[in-house]
């Protein structure tokens, strides 16, 4: 992939991000991740592991009562955790495009979708209404929506789930953002629609040179799409590596077990799982390895210390004492 040398090495660099709720619960404990320009990075983890909260922290749209307690987020080498609302408005929708997890909740139900897509242009550009309309239709066509003139006049609830998701994508990419964050764009969708959207994201990444942060708990799509993958467990990345490495040679016990619990043709009719069930939802500060209670290979040290990331291979790291050499 070509790189513009004037640009920063990483388009997005998150360092030790910690997000807490008003009650002090740690929703995201310590997330660090880096995305190079043009790269598609996956973020996997079970429900509640803090994937969406991390993206919200990046986009500055954390819900009321939830705040960043620690850490920095560099976008093009600029810390965007403490910028003013106006500056945030300039970045969001312009340089960072976001596709939200739940499409039906992310659209204003009372406004025609054409206008909602147009709103992004209205805020960030000073194009004439005519130009804007052309661009809206163009982008809508680009995300494989057909019959766009009519579609633009519809209200969100009059669209199918797949269409809604594509509208969101159109909204996210219409300003050619440098970074596209896609938060589980396919979870709610049918199999056939799912693969279309994956193709679409690939295309955007290719044609518009956008970096992508792709969030999912579905390994099959991650496998198809991502260059690199972070595995998140209870607000802490436990393993990172190239997609190949993670899927073919998972090192952290959690990743291993997670992959094993996915039904596959070979395991048909057999029992799937060796991972113990999680018994409680601990939201206090991490003082030891959080996976210890479920880990089959747990040993004394796991219960006492919090493991760092240990290097396994080139670009492949895991937060497990087994690799502390």
């Amino acid at each position: 992939m070509q790189q513009d040398l004037t640009k920063a090495e990483y388009i997005l660099k998150v360092e030790h991000l910690k997000v807490v709720s008003a009650q002090g619960a740690e929703l995201v404990r310590d997330v660090s991740l880096k995305i190079k320009p043009g790269e598609i990075v996956g973020l996997v983890g079970e429900s509640g592991s803090g994937k969406s909260i991390s993206t919200m922290a990046i986009a500055g749209i954390l819900p009321e009562g939830i705040s960043i307690a620690q850490g920095k987020i560099f976008f093009n080498d600029r810390d965007i955790t403490r910028i003013s609302a106006q500056e945030r408005c300039k970045i969001n929708g312009n340089k960072i495009g976001i596709i939200y997890q739940d499409a039906s909740q992310s659209l204003n139900p009372l406004i025609r979708i054409g206008r909602q897509i147009d709103e992004v242009l209205k805020i960030h550009t000073d194009l004439s209404p005519q130009e804007r309309r052309d661009r809206v239709y163009g982008t809508m066509r680009a995300v494989n929506l057909s019959n766009v003139e009519k579609l633009a006049q519809r209200y969100p609830h009059e669209l199918s789930g797949g269409q809604r998701q594509r509208v969101l994508i159109a909204m996210a990419i219409i300003n050619n953002p440098e970074l596209l964050i896609a938060d589980e764009p396919t979870t709610a969708l049918d199999v056939s629609v799912k693969s279309q959207i994956i193709e679409l994201i690939k295309l955007i990444n290719f044609s518009r040179k956008a970096s992508v942060l792709y969030i999912s708990h579905d390994f099959s799509t991650v496998k198809k799409l991502c260059d690199r993958v972070y595995v998140l467990y209870q607000g802490i990345p436990v393993e990172v590596g190239a997609t190949e490495q993670i899927i073919k040679r998972p090192q952290h016990m959690y990743t291993k077990l997670l992959l094993e619990s996915i039904p596959s043709p070979e395991k048909r009719g057999q029992k799937l799982l060796t991972m113990k069930a999680r018994t409680r939802d601990y939201r206090g500060p991490a003082v030891n390895c959080l996976f210890a209670e479920r880990c089959p290979k747990v040993f004394e040290r796991c219960r006492q210390e919090l493991p760092d990331m240990f290097k396994i291979d080139k670009g492949h790291q895991a937060a497990c004492f087994l690799f502390d050499k």
Partner: protein, 335 residues
């Protein structure tokens, strides 16, 4: 659409018919003969009997109902017993007072509740929010006539020159003259309207699409006015529709206090005099207005919220009703 309209019209008609029937049945049960009331204590039995038969009081109920409906279809509301005048004419005289009072109060409600709700909703639970709500709740807790009395005392002692609403309609500035009565009606309802709007705004704020709008780069004020405010209007408009019935109810009392020659006072006289045609006429008028306004509210809401246009919004609707019944209907009851 026509189907919908027809269905709605049918429902409205049924509701109206029921109202007429309820009033009919009540009047059948109410003791006291309008003839005797009209003629007074010194009248003789024969005189009363003669007047009663002239008024057709002892006719069987179905016949009376039938007669009434035939008249109604021809736009004839009957002849008032007490005033010896046609009901239509009497209503024509009194309705402008009540309707302008109601409209005035209505406008006051909107003018007061919208900015206050926006202020209160800015930060839920803030000092400002709490104090706005405390004050409006208090006004809601004051019986309306007591409120009127308090206002009267206050305005008198402060000499603001806002005299009570008595006098010729034409001779004084309408706005000044009706200010106090309208305010007395409005104050207790402001709390209802405000709370509705405030809750709606807060609820909308919690919804994800507002944050998604931040994600698009929209500014705060744009989000508030372009997204949140508009989306909060549906419950607010519905609340306003239902408040209207209460405003009419309020004007019945307030007209007594401020001595305004409106429908409310006419109605009290009519009921006391057992003047059935007049009572029925006024009730039908008020109920029709309320029903039509609520129909319009439905309509406006559909205009605001396209989701209400599609039929399969069962859950949204039920949720909606829940909230309505909660605050509004309950609060609104008999005040």
């Amino acid at each position: 659409m026509t189907r919908y309209l027809l269905k709605k019209a049918g429902q409205m008609l049924i509701t109206l018919l029921l109202i007429v029937l309820i009033v009919f049945i009540m009047f059948e049960l109410i003791p006291g003969s309008p003839a005797r009331i009209m003629l007074g204590m010194n009248a003789s039995q024969e005189q009363v009997a003669a007047l009663e038969s002239e008024l057709g009081i002892h006719e069987p109920l179905p016949l009376k109902i039938n007669k009434y409906f035939v008249g109604l279809l021809q736009g004839d509301l009957g002849h008032s017993i007490h005033f010896d005048k046609s009901v239509g004419e009497l209503i024509n005289e009194a309705a402008p007072v009540t309707f302008s009072l109601a409209m005035y109060a209505f406008v006051l409600i909107i003018v007061l509740s919208v900015p206050l709700a926006l202020l209160a909703a800015r930060k839920q639970g803030s000092f400002l929010d709490n104090s706005i709500r405390f004050v409006t709740e208090t006004t809601l807790a004051i019986p309306p006539f007591f409120m009127a009395i308090i206002l009267m005392l206050i305005f008198r002692t402060t000499q603001l020159g806002l005299s009570s609403g008595r006098g010729n309609l034409e001779s004084l500035g309408f706005l000044r003259k009706f200010f106090m009565p309208a305010l007395a009606i409005a104050l207790s309802r402001v709390a209802m309207a405000l709370e509705f709007l405030r809750d709606a705004i807060i609820e909308q704020k919690k919804l994800f699409y507002t944050r998604a709008a931040v994600g698009k780069g929209a500014t705060k004020s744009r989000i508030l006015f372009f997204h949140i405010f508009r989306n909060s209007l549906v419950p607010y408009v519905t609340a306003l529709g239902l408040i209207l019935a209460e405003v009419f109810g309020g004007s019945i009392i307030i007209e007594q206090v401020f001595l305004l020659p409106g429908l409310g006072r006419l109605l009290v006289t009519a009921v006391e005099a057992r003047d059935f045609p007049l009572t029925q006429g006024i009730i039908i008028l008020i109920a029709t207005v309320v029903i039509i306004v609520n129909f319009l509210v439905d309509f406006i809401n559909q205009f605001i919220d396209p989701r209400l246009r599609s039929s399969d919004m069962k859950s949204t609707k039920s949720n909606f009703w829940l909230k309505l019944s909660y605050k509004l209907k309950f609060r609104g009851d008999v005040e």
